[in-house]
């Protein structure tokens, strides 16, 4: 019985319970006393008591029995005395679960006279479409058979218990249907718990992000020291062949961090003046009709996916800058097609709408009276903007710029396509540099081994990135809150 079918049965019991409960509530209501709840609340209550415990049980059982069976398999594997016990054991466990998956696809007859050696079993399984690695061993087959047996048994027990739970819940709910039963309050309490649970998902996500990356990062720091990661100036991870204990490689964060900040700086140098002046013009000078056309158009820039910007940089801006530099210097292109400048400019274009719409909101929030006062004293419009409006809006604008900068630092697709992959440490904006996000993508595309530093370093990089952007966001909030001018 598949778990999907069990869930369907449980829900079906719940639906039947709903109708029975409603029916029962209607028939119990003899109009002598005013019923506490409407009939459908009784129905919902029956539905919830029968379905919720069963579903929760199914989930807990699935996770728990999975762990139990895995432990059982680990215990029945022969003990090794090799150095990296964990790695080889998890590899063996993977093999066993692979074999077990393959055995599932065999017919009953084939399973009855199973080959006892792995070399005989492998072609049989691959004929069923289950490809196994070659290093499987004979002792794994009985373990896999046992695995399948316990899985099936756990599954059947779970299914029976879940259905019994659902039936018991339905009976309990139905027996409680009465004119005086406070079914509505019960249902509403459960709804409230559901709402609370939904809103804690935000917390769970943050906790999940931090914990998942933290665990992998700690594992990473067992093979690479934190100081050589945070202060290393060479990035050379050296992809070794799978399983081979070759050269370690160097994981220096500095060149990546420098590239990230450099590209973000170029982007901000481009986006801040353009975005700020655009915002000032739209807030202070533009007529209503110009504003209603230009503002949405600039915001289109924010709606374009970053992969499109990356492609734009790769196909149009990069080659254009290269050809331009070749034309200027007479033949030698001193700007590479993939360079800090290319990535920075295109990222700057992406950031224009963020700067302009955030600043626009802040500038328009400065009260009219300040402007009128300044204009009444005889200053021109631009003087008003520079001496009165901008200082008043400054905390908000700084906060907005920090938010924009954190977006620039976390941006991935533009730099993946436009900045290059060479981890250089230089100050020439016409050369290629690489960023933290590019290296996360590079380390995690392709084959993964969750025990090699080459893979794990991505999580260390991700955690660094997360904390940098987190610090910037919190700092932005702090500045806005602390220095905000309160007008009335």
């Amino acid at each position: 019985m598949s778990s999907m079918l069990v869930i369907v049965i449980v829900v079906a019991i719940g639906i039947v319970g709903f109708f029975l409960g409603r029916q029962r509530a209607v028939s119990k209501d003899d109009r002598s006393v005013k019923a506490h709840s409407l009939p459908h609340y009784h129905g919902w209550w029956v539905f919830l008591v029968s379905v919720l415990p069963a579903i929760i049980f199914i989930m807990v059982w699935a996770i728990g029995s999975g762990f139990y069976i895995e432990r059982q398999a680990v215990n029945s594997l022969p003990v090794h005395n090799s150095e990296s016990v964990i790695a080889s054991q998890s590899l063996e466990l993977g093999m066993v679960s692979g074999i077990a998956r393959g055995l599932d696809k065999l017919t009953d007859q084939e399973r009855a006279n199973l080959p006892t050696t792995f070399s005989e079993l492998r072609p049989l399984l691959s004929s069923k479409g289950v490809a196994l690695a070659t290093e499987g061993q004979d002792f794994m087959i009985p373990v896999a058979v046992q695995w399948n047996k316990s899985t099936a048994r756990a599954h059947n027990i779970g299914a029976v218990v879940a259905i019994v739970l659902a039936l018991a819940g339905a009976v309990f709910g139905l027996s409680g249907v009465n004119v005086r039963t406070r079914a509505r309050n019960n249902v509403e309490r459960i709804i409230l718990w559901g709402l609370l649970a939904a809103s804690t998902i935000a917390i769970l996500t943050t906790v999940g992000i931090v914990l998942s990356m933290l665990f992998q990062t700690i594992t990473f720091f067992q093979s690479v020291t934190p100081s050589s990661f945070f202060f290393g100036t060479v990035w050379d991870p050296r992809f070794s062949a799978a399983g081979g204990n070759g050269a370690q490689g160097q994981f220096g964060l500095i060149p990546l961090l420098a590239g990230t900040l450099y590209i973000a700086l170029v982007a901000m140098l481009f986006a801040v003046p353009v975005g700020l002046f655009a915002a000032i013009y739209m807030a202070e000078y533009a007529s209503r009709s110009v504003r209603s056309v230009v503002k949405p158009l600039l915001e289109v820039l924010a709606g374009i996916p970053t992969i499109v910007y990356g492609f734009f940089a790769l196909v149009t801006v990069g080659p254009f800058l290269r050809d331009l530099s070749a034309a200027i210097s007479g033949g030698y292109p001193f700007i590479m097609a993939q360079s800090v400048l290319t990535a920075g400019i295109v990222m700057g274009v992406m950031l224009i709408p963020f700067v302009s719409s955030l600043s626009d909101d802040i500038i328009t929030a400065v009260p009219r009276s300040l402007r009128d006062g300044s204009l009444g004293l005889g200053s021109t419009k631009s003087e008003t903007v520079r001496r009165v409006v901008l200082p008043a809006a400054l905390p908000g604008i700084v906060g907005a710029l920090l938010l924009t900068a954190s977006r620039a630092i976390g941006e991935t697709m533009i730099v993946v396509l436009a900045a290059g992959v060479a981890a250089n440490l230089n100050i020439n904006p016409f050369d290629a540099m690489t960023t933290i996000t590019v290296k996360i993508v590079n380390q995690l595309t392709g084959d993964l081994e969750f025990n090699s530093p080459q893979t794990l370093v991505a999580f260390a990089l991700g955690l660094t990135l997360f904390f940098i952007t987190l610090a910037m966001n919190i700092f932005a909030l702090y500045i806005v809150r602390k220095y905000r001018e309160q007008y009335e």
């Binding site: 509505r184 509403e188 409230l192 609370l196 939904a198 809103s199 998902i201 935000a202 996500t205 943050t206 992000i209 998942s212 990356m213 665990f215 992998q216 353009v274 975005g275 700020l276 002046f277 655009a278 013009y281 739209m282 000078y285 600039l298 289109v300 374009i304 996916p305 499109v308 910007y309 990356g310 492609f311 734009f312 790769l314 196909v315 149009t316 224009i352 021109t380 631009s382 520079r386 954190s406 977006r407 630092i409 976390g410 941006e411 991935t412 697709m413 396509l417 996360i440 993508v441 995690l444 595309t445 991505a458 999580f459 990135l465 997360f466 952007t469 987190l470 966001n473 919190i474 909030l477």
Partner: protein, 439 residues
């Protein structure tokens, strides 16, 4: 005052000094300031136009594909030389179909089959995708064997580029991918009307392929569709439930404070971090398959939730308190008040926010790269657990290909993506215009 009128000569210099408040300079500064603003807006708009122009000019040709019309003789001697197709169905699947196409082409152009170099060049005129085209035709209807069918067959990627004028034919033929002979054949066929550009339906139906002419967005579109459905089914209920709790029920407490800070923070976390979360939790810990659209959908759900929660809370806040008081006043419970009165009134705002969140999720690439959606998937995913790709990821993969025909496809795919986004955003705007209520 009287002095000045009486003795103008004495005051005149002072008057000049007072008058000189640098108006000229200040007005010039004012004009410059205004010009800066206009320039800034012009730069922004220029880049918008440049970006769209670059994509569209590179990509509009991707919607047409060069095809050649051939009378292919489905020769039994080639397809099934040993006449075993009744007993062995694999014969029809493995038959040497390209030879049939090649022969048909040779016959049409009058090239002798013994001229081996010419035949080799000739066979590059048509795409290898003709193999599966004929295979499907014959396997679907074996009675066609022995007949002659007139078909439109895809041309090779380079020929397609050359036919669209994207390959510079003035270069020496050793330095370009199309030989002079092939160009001559191409022109002959074009003159006869046998080679023409036809609507490229393959762009929307094919899966991944190493040949540009037979690669398409089919798998990516299905993958993206699955992911959008998952995001919609998960993030809308969860987001609305969370917003209702925070907006209508929660009292100000430590917990709600933490939740609020968390939501605002998650909205600003780089998207790639969500990819790391998905990799570590969904794939490594829960053991879900890599490259599956289910994992992609879950990751994008977590990413979209803050957007939807923020939009929904704004929509709930916009419903005036009088509605709530009225509902409570006539005896509704708090839950009834929220679900029967407030929520329906806030629905347009919630939907608008959801659509914008979905559009954002549709264009997101970085987290999907980490959970292995950069995969070469040629077959349609049947369930969300099957390997698939997504629209923006397909764009990324094509952007890394060097061939000219792939640049065209990439731009074409971007046009498709931008059209989807435009439709979603315009839909959101219309929804807002039409159902927005001012209280």
């Amino acid at each position: 005052m009287t002095d000045t009128t009486l003795n103008p000569a004495a005051v005149a210099p002072a008057k000049v000094v007072r008058r000189d408040i640098g108006l000229k300079r200040r007005y010039a500064a004012e004009r410059r300031f205004k010009i800066y603003g206009i320039t800034a807006i012009a730069i922004g708009l220029f880049f918008l136009v440049a970006l769209l122009y670059s994509v569209i000019s590179n990509g509009y040709t991707a919607f047409w594909q060069t095809e050649v019309s051939l009378s292919v003789k489905l020769d039994e001697k080639v397809i099934d030389p040993t006449n075993k197709r009744a007993t062995d169905p694999t014969v029809l699947l493995t038959a040497n179909y390209p030879i049939l196409v090649r022969n048909a082409l040779a016959e049409k152009l009058g090239v002798s089959l013994d001229d081996k170099p010419a035949i080799r060049e000739l066979s590059k005129l048509v795409s290898d995708g003709s193999r599966s085209q004929l295979r499907e035709l014959v396997a679907g209807n074996p009675a066609l064997i022995g007949t002659t069918q007139t078909l439109w067959v895809l041309t090779g990627g380079d020929i397609d580029s050359a036919f669209k004028g994207q390959i510079d034919l003035s270069v020496d033929q050793a330095n370009r991918k199309v030989s002079d002979r092939q160009v001559a054949w191409m022109n002959t066929l074009a003159k006869e009307g046998a080679m023409a550009q036809r609507f490229n339906s393959g762009l929307f139906t094919f899966g991944a392929s190493s040949r540009p002419e037979t690669s398409g967005l089919g798998v990516a579109l299905i993958g993206s569709l699955y992911m959008m459905l998952i995001v919609l089914c998960l993030s809308l209920p969860i987001g609305v439930a969370a917003s209702i709790y925070l907006e209508e029920y929660a009292k100000k407490s430590r917990l709600t404070d933490i939740i609020e800070v968390n939501i605002n923070n998650l909205a600003a976390v780089p998207s790639i971090v969500f990819g790391l979360l998905g990799l570590a939790v969904f794939i490594n810990f829960f053991g879900l398959p890599r490259s599956a659209s289910l994992v992609g959908g879950l990751v994008l759900t977590l990413m979209t939730l803050p957007t939807i929660i923020i939009a929904t809370r704004a929509a709930l806040r916009a419903v005036p308190p009088s509605i709530r008081s009225a509902a409570l006043g006539i005896g509704a419970s708090k839950t009834q008040m929220v679900f029967h009165h407030v929520l329906p009134l806030a629905a347009p705002g919630i939907l608008t926010g959801t659509i914008i969140g979905l559009a954002h999720a549709l264009g997101e690439t970085a987290p999907l790269l980490l959970i292995g959606m950069v995969a070469f998937v040629a077959n349609y995913p049947v369930t969300p657990l099957d390997p698939s790709t997504a629209l923006p990821v397909q764009i990324y993969m094509w952007a890394n290909e060097a061939e000219r025909a792939f640049v065209e496809r990439t731009s074409g795919a971007i046009i498709v993506l931008l059209l989807f986004l435009a439709v979603m955003n315009i839909g959101a705007i219309i929804l807002r215009r039409r159902f927005e209520r001012r209280w």
